[in-house]
Symmetry: C2
Subunit: 229 residues, 2 copies
């Protein structure tokens, strides 16, 4: 009811997407990421090279997607699941910290690979942009834009901008945090010789998102006041 449009189509689609991600990561780990052609990935996944490009627009995207998974959807769900009692800022910040802290499946070697190669780091950072639209919907929901089931792109809401701006700002802040994290960890890797998994990524995320808390809470107060009217 939520995401299935026809059932079998979407299922097969996700299957091939999954196969491509897995193949890309596996090959990138076996040989270096520079010794992997897109033809190899396509062949390993059992599809045509052209089909591969229908799913991912770059080789790095596929590799990174194997690690990030469906983080964007999980973030949105996490925001929606927080009880209404906590403030919007806390809800958003903690939801993000949760989703970016839970290592889930990513093997440490995959993360090392990503932090090492610049192209992969960039692709990993670009991933944060994907959380913007789901997060927009989640925030709009919490702000109580009562105007129906528009999926975020319609112009029917009371204030179309606030949710979008806040979501975009949060995504940008997360990107800033990841950039900083990748820079420092990369530096420490170069210096120490052994990988330092993190300088406490949760704390860094909280510190980076903190400046946005006033904006989030102010928007929530505005929404409450307007709704009460």
């Amino acid at each position: 009811m939520t995401t299935r449009r026809t059932g079998l189509r979407e299922q097969k689609k996700q299957a091939t997407r999954q196969a491509l991600r897995a193949a890309a990561l596996r090959l990138a780990l076996e040989r270096g990421p520079d010794n992997v052609r897109v033809d190899d990935i396509a062949e390993a996944a059992g599809v045509s090279p052209r089909t591969y490009n229908n799913y991912f627009s770059s080789r790095e995207q596929a590799i990174v997607a194997a690690v990030t998974g469906e983080r964007e959807a999980r973030v949105a769900a996490a925001v929606a699941d927080r009880p209404g009692g906590v403030g919007l800022a806390d809800a958003v910040i903690e939801a993000i910290v949760d989703q970016y802290t839970a290592p889930g499946e990513p093997g440490q070697d995959a993360l090392l690979l990503i932090t090492t190669r610049p192209a992969l780091r960039d692709a990993f950072i670009d991933t944060t942009a994907a959380i913007e639209h789901p997060l927009t919907d989640a925030i709009a929901e919490r702000l109580g834009d009562g105007a129906g089931a528009g999926d975020g792109d319609g112009d029917g809401e009371r204030d179309p901008h606030t949710a979008r701006v806040l979501a975009a700002s949060v995504a940008a802040a997360v990107r800033v945090a990841l950039e900083h994290w990748l820079r420092t960890t990369a530096a420490s890797v170069t210096a120490g010789g052994l990988v330092v998994p993190s300088g406490s990524l949760p704390d860094l995320l909280r510190a980076t998102l903190a400046p946005l808390a006033p904006a989030l809470d102010a928007a929530e107060q505005r929404a409450l006041r307007r709704r009460r009217r």
Copy 2:
């Protein structure tokens, strides 16, 4: 003392960059943007195609750069020039409105061309990312991070994150505003048949940036309080 590093080198560099921008826009206007190969642009600017790619990584970037110019530097300068009396939020918002309202040189036909073609619209939207770093420096300056002349990437400041996050958020908000503006104007163009230059872009920018004002002012208050200590 500000931007010149060696003098003649930078001068020639800006000259070729300018030549490439101008050639790209001129050719894109004469023929359609789809009938312009990068070889043509390079030839019109008198450089090799390879050199062209040293300056712009896509054909659309070059065309759009002819219109946007050095907007990023002007935004930063505008923020820095506001008197210290006005709040940070007002300073940033009005500076941005000024720079995005002043049409400057862009001919209306060039703007029409950009709003029409999707690829050019995307490139135009991506331009907003460029204001992030200059804006970071300007905001950091206003927040009075007293720790020396670091150009924004050093870690020597008191709070390295706030300025970066705020600048990134502002850039993201501007991007949201431009996306909305381009969508609606494109729709009205399709509907009306004649181009509608804007539905008051300044007001749209102000409305889109408004949700960030609490964050900007809160950061300023924090900085003041910390500095007084």
